[in-house]
């Protein structure tokens, strides 16, 4: 609902570029913008990462502390993911409690980490039914130039990989890294007039009617998906996106591990 107003001229421009097989910033349809990741960005956090994807900037902080488990999973640690689209990051964002866009980013990021089994939650149990480690993943968007879904997911897993469980501070032994088993990678594409563009910029996101995010685990299986936007996709388009995304996810994971 708080989508930026796009001029008809811009919409037309992006559409006609698409017809010629081009994009406004000269990328190929399936080309991602440059990724840079800086881990251990915040000393006070147990894990943190500042991620840039093109001009989009996001900081993810991980705080870890002991707490009580949920009654239905007494032997598992807890992951809580939240995202804040702070007004500093875009003229469209407003202060106040998270709205549906922020909630969607947080929940889809959470889905990727949870469903791929990225964190071995059983190993976060201290005393069954009483004390487990709680992992809070907080996503702060600093500059929204498009594709928050993928940047947040990259930031979250980067921050988790470098996070230390502060066992010493709570008298529970020596500090240790989080038990990470998988590195989920999420890939987002938008549909502009039938053309499928990966890693959309904010202009492309605003023009597009439909967006699909697919999250892959290490073995290339799908861990999560989310369609957003008013538009619809045919099953051929969906299968096509999933196929290309799978290859893209492997590329991104490789790059990610190099960094």
């Amino acid at each position: 609902m708080n989508k930026e107003i796009v001029s008809i001229i811009q919409k037309d421009h992006l559409y006609h570029l698409m017809l010629k097989g081009e994009r406004a910033d000269g990328r190929a349809f399936d080309e991602f913008r440059d990724i840079s990741i800086q881990t251990d960005y915040i000393d006070k956090a147990e894990g943190s990462a500042k991620v840039e994807l093109g001009n989009t900037k996001v900081v993810v902080g991980v705080k870890i502390m002991p707490g009580t488990p949920f009654p239905d999973t007494p032997d598992s640690g807890v992951i809580i993911t939240s995202a804040e689209l702070i007004p500093l990051a875009s003229p469209e964002f407003e202060s106040g409690p998270p709205r549906e866009n922020a909630i969607e980013v947080a929940r889809v990021t959470d889905r990727g980490i949870r469903e791929s089994g990225a964190i071995d939650l059983k190993k976060l149990c201290v005393v069954e039914g009483e004390k487990v480690w709680m992992v809070f993943i907080d996503i702060h968007v600093l500059d929204d130039c498009g594709n928050l879904m993928n940047v947040s997911a990259l930031g979250a897993i980067a921050a988790l990989l470098t996070a230390k469980m502060p066992k010493e501070r709570f008298g529970l032994g020596e500090d240790a890294p989080l038990p990470i088993r998988d590195i989920p990678v999420s890939i987002t594409a938008v549909d502009i007039g039938g053309g499928i563009l990966f890693d959309p910029t904010i202009e492309e996101e605003n023009v597009a009617e439909c967006k699909l995010t697919v999250i892959f685990n290490q073995e290339g299986a799908i861990s999560g998906m989310q369609k957003s936007g008013n538009g619809s996709l045919t099953s051929d388009q969906l299968n096509n996106i999933v196929e290309i995304s799978c290859k893209k996810a492997q590329e991104i994971r490789k790059k990610f591990l190099e960094i």
Binding site: M1, D72, P98, E100, I103, E104, A106, R107, R111, R114, E115, S116, E209, L212, N217, G220, A221, I222, S223, G224, M225, Q226, K227, S228, G229, N230, G231, S232, L233, T234, S235, L238, N239, V242, E243, C246
Partner: protein
């Protein structure tokens, strides 16, 4: 909560609740059961009990939300505190906000919002009893409530989930399959087969996704037939009631003019046997078609029924 079953599918290929792997749960539909709402639908999908109400097109509050060129669509998915095993804290939580968002997006393109600028179409969903698949059931109910409210739509939206248990794809998960299954993928589909909602969590390979999508689409088609039938039944009954209650003279009117008058009574959505053509024709078509038909009918009446002609002449003389 039940314990995790050892096996979800028995040696005969049947699931724990006796269904085949590609069989949806029973659906019961009642349309137009709320009096104050402009359109409503009560839907049971297995053990889910869903109430949907539609208000609008109506004035937008708060005003700043209104759009100059089209109606806004608002979708509120709400779970009753008693709808689940452990009491749910009333009010919107993050899950219901997300469900509301994606469900709204599943409908927005299907509604002719451009016909109602500066107005709001509100869809309210109340989950009275939840038993896995509430968002899909709610979308099916909302679709019918919209039709019942007479909101012009390109077609109905039907929704259904596919999931995975014991490494087998299954259609329309029940509670245990949802809790302990390996994947859950709800989709919603328009009448022309386009996907308007897609979410997934769990673990699916690309092949499974492809196959699962087809299964879910088949499920949606089955549900579409049930929705369509429910609408036709409902409006046939209301039409009969109107005829029965009406005074004798007006009954005659309805029967003689039925050729032209039936269409507006039937819901627009029913007429989408030809989905491409929709029920909204080009302005030109409307202008051309309707007067022609009326003229014909009137002419027929003059020819067949001399009484009308004499009536007319009487009137003339009176004047």
């Amino acid at each position: 909560m039940n314990e995790k079953p050892e096996k979800f599918i028995d040696e005969n290929g049947l699931r724990l609740d006796g269904r085949k792997i590609d069989q949806i749960r029973d659906i019961k539909i009642e349309i137009g059961i709320l009096n104050r709402a402009d359109g409503s639908c009560y839907l049971e999908f297995g053990n889910n009990k869903i109430m949907a109400a539609v208000y609008g097109p109506r004035e937008v509050h708060p005003r700043h939300q209104q759009k100059a060129t089209r109606a806004i669509v608002r979708y509120k998915y709400n779970m009753a505190s008693f709808s689940v095993e452990d009491r749910k804290r009333p009010g919107p939580d993050r899950r219901s906000i997300e469900v509301s968002k994606v469900s709204r997006e599943a409908f927005e393109k299907e509604i002719f919002t451009e016909l109602y600028p500066k107005s709001a179409i509100d869809i309210f969903i109340e989950i009275l009893q939840a038993d896995a698949g509430t968002r899909t059931a709610a979308i099916n109910a909302a679709s019918l409530a919209l039709a019942d409210a007479g909101i012009p739509m390109r077609g109905l939206i039907s929704s259904c989930a596919v999931g995975k248990v014991d490494d087998t794809l299954i259609l329309d998960l029940n509670k245990d399959e949802d809790n302990y299954g390996q994947a859950d993928m709800p989709i919603a589909m328009s009448t022309d087969g386009k996907i308007t909602l897609l979410q997934m969590d769990g673990h699916l390979t690309q092949e499974e996704f492809k196959k699962g999508l087809e299964m879910a689409q088949q499920g949606c088609r089955e549900i579409y037939e049930l929705q369509r039938k429910a609408l036709i039944d409902h409006y046939n009954n209301t039409q009969k009631e109107i005829i029965q209650d009406a005074p004798v003279e007006s009954v005659k009117d309805i029967s003689t003019e039925s050729a032209t008058e039936e269409d507006p009574i039937e819901d627009p959505v029913i007429s989408d046997d030809v989905p491409d053509n929709g029920y909204i024709a080009n302005d030109d078509e409307i202008k051309e078609d309707i007067p022609d038909e009326k003229e014909e009918v009137i002419l027929d009446e003059y020819e067949d029924n001399p009484a009308i002609v004499s009536d007319e002449t009487e009137d003339d003389t009176l004047e």
